[in-house]
């Protein structure tokens, strides 16, 4: 919870009253390994803050899992598109370890926006940051090699290497496991 407050304070400090109202809407969940917090076809009606653990965001195409993102402790995890549009998710979100997450539900968040301008501002800043994240990801697909994308992932979170199986990293990078082994060997 402190981690979340610190995260907010870095973006834009909430008033004490706003934080208290926000805190009351947070739902703490302890999730065991391999639990799905979102399934394909469900509407994503929450944004969750990852207190501990790692989650992966993936879809299934022709029976094969394709990983499009990892979320770590200190990240927000959601299907933001489904959350914003109300359309069913095309992705699954799985916790890869026992995790502690703090959910805020859409109906509560919309109310908090009405009640506190500082929470509305946080919502804007978080939307802007998510824009930048997905724009960077688009760039990395258009312009970067798998090797550069691997380097980027390392910089973002080098703990990942220890925690995530190789074949999942390869899926995220869009390469075969053998290619990833060669990239690692060259480092």
């Amino acid at each position: 919870m402190e981690a979340l407050k610190n995260y907010f304070n870095k973006l834009f400090p909430l008033t004490e009253a706003a934080w208290q109202d926000f805190e009351q809407c947070l739902v703490k969940e302890t999730v065991v390994k391999k639990d799905l917090i979102l399934e394909e076809g469900q509407k994503c009606d929450f944004i969750a803050f990852v207190g501990e653990g790692i989650c992966r965001f993936y879809y299934v195409k022709e029976g094969e899992e394709k990983i499009t993102a990892f979320f770590f402790s200190g990240d927000f995890v959601t299907n933001y598109r489904s959350f914003l549009t109300g359309q069913p998710s095309e992705h699954y979100i799985e916790c890869m370890q026992q995790s502690v997450i703090y959910k805020v539900f859409k109906k509560d968040l919309l109310q908090l926006y009405d009640q506190h301008q500082c929470i509305e501002r946080l919502g804007r800043l978080i939307a802007e940051n998510l824009y930048l994240t997905v724009a960077r990801r688009l760039d990395s697909f258009l312009y970067a090699t798998p090797e550069e994308r691997y380097q980027e992932l390392l910089q973002r979170n080098s703990k990942l290497l220890q925690e995530v199986p190789q074949y999942m990293l390869a899926s995220y990078l869009g390469v075969k496991p053998e290619t990833l082994s060669r990239i690692r060997a060259r480092k």
Copy 2:
């Protein structure tokens, strides 16, 4: 100006006072064909609403222009990343016809956010929409064929076909002009 007000009203109606303050910050510019409203290396300190005309968003790689977006009458045009981060633009924005645009500058917008919660909310909703736009674009690169991307563009604005030279459409789709001709011939 009415078009912009209608656009806002569809997202979230502004109070009369907020609209008046906002309107005072709008700077109308008439731009002649081929004028650049943003150049590579400049910081983008504005968001502009396209009243009339078409703009294209492109970068130059090894002497070749690569088009990544078109903006039409009724769209916002900006380098949103440069606008948010303050980093220099890697793109150019060119008006392809005589255009009328309405700019709001970053320093004014930040002040408007402070003054009116309804403008802050608009800012959030617009950031969320831009997130969805770039997420769709990422998807279309990851999963769609050039043919499907062409179809998507047609649906978005079929006037485009008459106004935009073929080689520019091909650049946007990431295909050679000959490939685009074949796609069109099949329709």
